[in-house]
């Protein structure tokens, strides 16, 4: 087996591939042959440690070969070629927009934008996925997913203080009618474990988990998606980091063990029966909290020149990254271990959690040690960054790696991926009319993709740090579903007289992606921006993150979805003036069951968005506030039931997705923001999953008020049916409650825009909706709430 290492450079193709699968590297033949060539040139055979280092550094997880590689997209008779899909779509939008408030984009562990009025702070934001680990071991996978993204924030610049965690999950339907594949966990078991993992880690470390989402689709039965995000505050003068030759390599926090060997390479493979849980790390939140406390103190005292986290690839990628210019000399025998049976190469690539690598000037080591001891945080000095550009890793007398840095970070061989447009039959026929709109509404409110998320949210400490001023649960009874979360980071700024804050929201719509991936991307960015608008955030300063999750990129249709969605991201970012500041992608979310059947996930794009809130005291919530206030519908309702929750419940015979008019949306939103800032708006709530009827219901029962609504004069596309009006999910629409004595001012601000008065808030607890003289439904708000307020777990 691994004896083959002694004649690695002369191995034939077949044995190379066998060696790869035996060692779990997930390298392609092309990459293996490139490694062969390089070692032949050096005139020697590689060590196990060297090949492991290459497998980590070149992995999909670390290098994003698919998204950053060449793609040929065939669409009808035409072929469009990309040299680097990511750069030509996502990054291009950011470069075009060139916003001066973007302080760091795409280069560090997270993106950074300006925060507040003082000019002293930056806001770092990052979202990650931890899908593969959660498919195999959901609790551990979720825990370490949270831990990992927090370390991204700790490791951005010289370290940011985390003030918010986000979490968005996708699972198979809990009450699914589909028979479970042989080797799968039930979605309920996965969901419970994932929630518990996020809860136990996030709560212990003292960061509020206050924003996110839940989405169900049977495409996620074998491959749940777990998106975890983190936002943190960083002083603007701590954004630059640079290793100085001579600096010591110091590892702080957790110890190194055999958990998480090959996490990076394992995420570049489809999951099957052979997949082992030892690739999943074991989390320990308390160690990470110690690390956080040490870092913040040491950062402010200027005790280190650079920092990064040990994530995928462990020491090999963290030390390799920090030393990419200076080189690094590492003594593995100095590592603190939690398992003594570990091989030297395993120490080098282990992904054990809660470890951060610092570059510390020798003269400052004493001071750093004092802080580490004061916080009971373990550490070890692993070596130094010498300045000779070589990566030398040894364990005692044994040489583990001896390579020039340029070899690792130079050209990774990449090959062109084939992409093609997925064929979907579109029907835009008039949808069939249901027997009772009221009955549909009640079923819709209980649908897993619409109903209350309180049973998950209340398990998270979403208010620790005392800054969650617009909460995920809000309104009169503290249970209304918020559009965006607003954070007032008093625990980071230590200033209770500065009312600057920021909002965070999400957009996610894989159902639309199955039909039209390009529109899905537009709709998702629109939803995220609209959610920010609903709390009164400064949407002209929106910054967004992209997180793509897809099935195997070897499937040209999957790559076609990716190309279209990436193009959509570009156009939406430019259209809304909202640059991407960071992102991540996860491929191979495709599992095989015991019978060899493949289960690919639908193309899943999570857009996470953030925008400043100038005065957190003036941010608004979604529930109706006062009887007698007029209700307005902003935006034009358009035809099409494609991607709607309704279509999941009943066959409407229509799967058309109405295209988004970004220019009209931008104009509408900026007028509404003015109205919100001038205090005209008492409540705002977006129409998204479930459509307008769900929006109105949620605003009513979260405020304990009823409403009389007549949609007759609402802006709409010609030929729109009542079903499309109530339950269609056409984008760029929101419902506003306007303060009665500010209505005149409001009308001036929205003049000429498709914003129509559709009724008023009333004391009587019923929601009545009419259209063109017909009563569509009349329902008691408490009955609606009872349908909606389900205990999902």
């Amino acid at each position: 087996m691994t004896d083959n290492l002694s004649n690695f450079t002369s191995l034939p193709e077949k044995q190379l591939v066998e060696l790869d699968s035996l060692c779990g590297w997930s390298l392609s033949l092309l990459e293996l042959q490139e490694a062969q060539r390089q070692f032949s040139k050096m005139g020697r055979q590689p060590t196990r440690g060297e090949l492991e280092t290459i497998a980590q550094t070149w992995s999909e997880h670390c290098k994003h070969k698919t998204f950053s590689g060449p793609v040929a997209f065939r669409d009808g008779g035409k072929t469009k070629k990309y040299k680097n899909l990511f750069k030509e779509t996502i990054v291009k939008a950011t470069r075009t927009l060139n916003r001066k408030w973007c302080l760091s984009v795409f280069t560090d562990n997270a993106g950074i934008v300006e925060f507040g009025k003082s000019g002293k702070w930056g806001l770092a934001f990052k979202a990650e996925t931890h899908n593969h680990p959660c498919a195999v071991e959901p609790y551990g996978g979720a825990e370490t997913g949270v831990g990992g993204v927090i370390r991204d924030i700790l490791g951005v610049g010289l370290g940011a203080k985390p003030v918010l965690n986000t979490d968005s999950f996708c699972f198979g339907y809990l009450d699914g009618k589909k028979k479970l594949p042989k080797n799968s966990h039930s979605p309920e078991r996965i969901m419970r474990s994932v929630v518990e993992g996020v809860r136990d880690y996030g709560n212990r470390i003292g960061i509020p988990t206050a924003s996110g989402g839940l989405y169900f689709d049977d495409g996620y039965l074998l491959n749940p998606l777990v998106y975890v995000g983190c936002a943190g505050l960083i002083p603007v003068d701590k954004i630059e980091k640079k290793v100085v030759p001579g600096d010591l390599i110091v590892s702080i926090g957790g110890r190194t063990g055999r958990d998480g060997i090959h996490g990076a390479t394992f995420s570049s493979a489809n999951i099957d029966e052979e997949t082992t849980a030892s690739a999943v790390q074991i989390g320990h939140a308390v160690n990470e909290k110690k690390t956080l406390d040490v870092l913040m103190r040491a950062r402010d005292l200027g005790l280190y020149n650079a920092v990064t986290d040990c994530g995928a690839g462990g020491f090999s990628s963290a030390i390799g990254e920090l030393g990419s210019e200076t080189g690094a000399h590492v003594k593995l025998e100095n590592a603190l271990l939690k398992d003594t049976r570990i091989e030297p190469w395993e120490i080098w690539v282990s992904e054990s959690q809660e470890r951060m690598i610092l570059a510390v000037p020798k003269a400052k080591m004493k001071k750093l040690e004092a802080i580490l001891k004061a916080e009971s945080c373990e550490y070890c000095v692993m070596g130094a960054f010498p300045g000779d550009g070589r990566l030398l890793v040894a364990h005692g007398d044994e040489s583990v790696v001896d390579l020039p840095m340029s070899f690792l970070h130079g050209g990774v061989p990449n090959f062109e991926k084939q992409a093609t447009r997925r064929k979907v039959k579109i029907s835009s026929a008039a949808p069939a009319r249901p027997a009772s709109y009221g009955q549909v509404l009640k079923e819709m409110l209980a649908h897993p993709n619409v109903c209350s998320r309180h049973s998950v949210i209340t398990q998270y400490d979403h208010e620790v740090q005392g800054g969650t001023v617009i909460k995920p649960l809000q309104g009169k009874y503290g249970d209304g579903p918020g559009d965006a979360t607003v954070i007032w980071p008093q625990a980071a700024t230590l200033d209770q007289h500065d009312f600057s804050g920021f909002a965070v929201s999400h957009g996610f719509n894989p159902a639309a992606g199955k039909i039209a991936p390009y529109q899905m991307a537009l709709h998702s960015v629109d939803e995220a921006v609209r959610n920010l608008l609903c709390v009164g955030a400064e949407i002209s300063r929106t910054a967004i993150l992209d997180n793509f999750c897809a099935a195997s990129p070897r499937d040209p249709e999957v790559m076609g979805d990716l190309v279209l969605a990436a193009e959509g991201c570009h156009d939406a970012a430019v259209g809304y003036g909202a640059p991407f500041i960071s992102g991540k992608d996860s491929f191979y979310n495709q599992a095989k069951d015991a019978d060899g059947k493949e289960y690919p996930i639908p193309m899943s794009l999570l857009i996470s968005a953030t925008a400043p809130v100038e005065d957190i005291r003036k941010a608004i919530t979604m529930n109706f506030k006062e009887a007698g206030n007029p209700v307005y519908l902003a935006g034009t309702s358009r035809r099409g039931m494609g991607g709607s929750v309704y279509n999941d419940m009943a066959a409407s015979g229509n799967n058309f997705i109405s295209p988004l008019d970004i220019k009209a949306a931008v104009k509408l939103y900026s007028a509404i923001l003015k109205a919100i800032k001038s205090g005209c708006v008492a409540a705002a709530h977006d129409a998204s999953q479930g459509g307008l009827a769900v929006t109105l219901s949620e605003m009513a029962f979260s405020g304990g008020f009823g409403a009389e609504i007549d949609l007759t004069w609402a802006a709409r596309e010609k030929g729109l049916s009542p079903l499309e009006l109530l339950f269609g999910e056409s984008p760029a629409r929101l419902v506003l409650e306007v303060l009665k004595d500010k209505e005149t001012e409001f009308l001036k601000l929205i003049k000429g825009l498709p914003v129509c008065e559709v009724g008023y808030v009333k004391e009587e607890p019923s929601l009545c909706v009419l259209d063109g003289g017909e009563r569509l439904f009349w329902e008691d708000i408490n009955a609606l709430k009872n349908c909606w307020k389900r205990e999902l777990i």
Binding site: E375, D461, G466, A491
Partner: protein
């Protein structure tokens, strides 16, 4: 002179900074002090006027919530006892309350032994939500003076079920009105809906809800109706402590 408040922290004390901010806002001079600093003799609790045990998951809540922190305090027990006996204000919030219970400082007893516990919530897991609590206005507690009969505060705990094994001890809590705060709708299964208790002097107070999270009106989930005034119910707890020593 501003009263000096010691905000005691340890590994995974998480609510230390907002508690620090709250004391600063009401005019105290707060200082964050790690238990390691006390154990090393770098700081002395008796040099301070007010003591706070903030919320969090000290030492991961391993063994049981607050237990390890309480054990670490044992060596310094004489100083803590003197602080409490001297009627200097002590507040333990959430994990802080759990620590005060595990050390035996609350409920107050002659042996200074642990006579009660805060056990896993009846629902079996961590729970974060806003609750209505009744304030016992006959209680000697100095922290709750001037509060209305009912206020809203958020809870965020997994182990908040207050249990006393010995009926006599519970009787003495109730008969002396040492149960400062009770839930209107019990979220965790606490005996007699108890959310917070004090010592007889009214100066040592532990509670599960978080007053520092309802310090300003804009921290309330119901907005903007509630956001008209700046200070909210939680502010009063901190203000009272400063007024008491000042």
């Amino acid at each position: 002179m501003k009263p000096k408040a010691i905000i005691l922290r340890g590994t995974a004390t998480n609510c230390d900074i907002e508690t620090f901010n709250s004391f600063k806002y009401v005019g105290a001079e707060p200082e964050l002090v790690h238990i390691n600093q006390l154990l090393a003799g770098e700081r002395k609790v008796l040099d301070y006027d007010i003591m706070a045990f903030p919320g969090g998951f000290s030492y991961g809540d391993d063994i049981s919530a607050g237990k390890i922190y309480a054990v670490k305090m044992a060596k310094l027990s004489a100083d803590f006892k003197a602080f409490i006996k001297g009627k200097r204000p002590v507040i333990g919030i959430c994990n802080g309350f759990q620590i005060l219970v595990k050390t035996g400082f609350l409920p107050e007893n002659k042996a200074n032994a642990q006579v009660s516990t805060l056990y896993t919530n009846d629902c079996g897991h961590f729970l974060a939500k806003w609750v209505k609590v009744r304030i016992n206005r006959d209680s000697p507690c100095i922290f709750t003076k001037g509060l209305p009969e009912e206020i809203e505060l958020p809870i965020a705990h997994g182990e908040g079920k207050f249990i006393v094994e010995d009926k006599k001890i519970m009787d003495s809590i109730i008969s002396r009105d040492l149960h400062v705060m009770t839930y209107r709708s019990n979220p965790n299964g606490s005996m007699l809906d108890i959310a917070g208790i004090t010592n007889a002097a009214g100066t040592c107070f532990g509670l599960m809800p978080h007053p520092e999270r309802n310090f300003f009106a804009w921290q309330n989930p119901d907005r903007p109706a509630a956001a008209r005034e700046a200070e909210a119910a939680g502010w009063q707890f901190f203000k009272n402590a400063v007024d008491y020593v000042g």
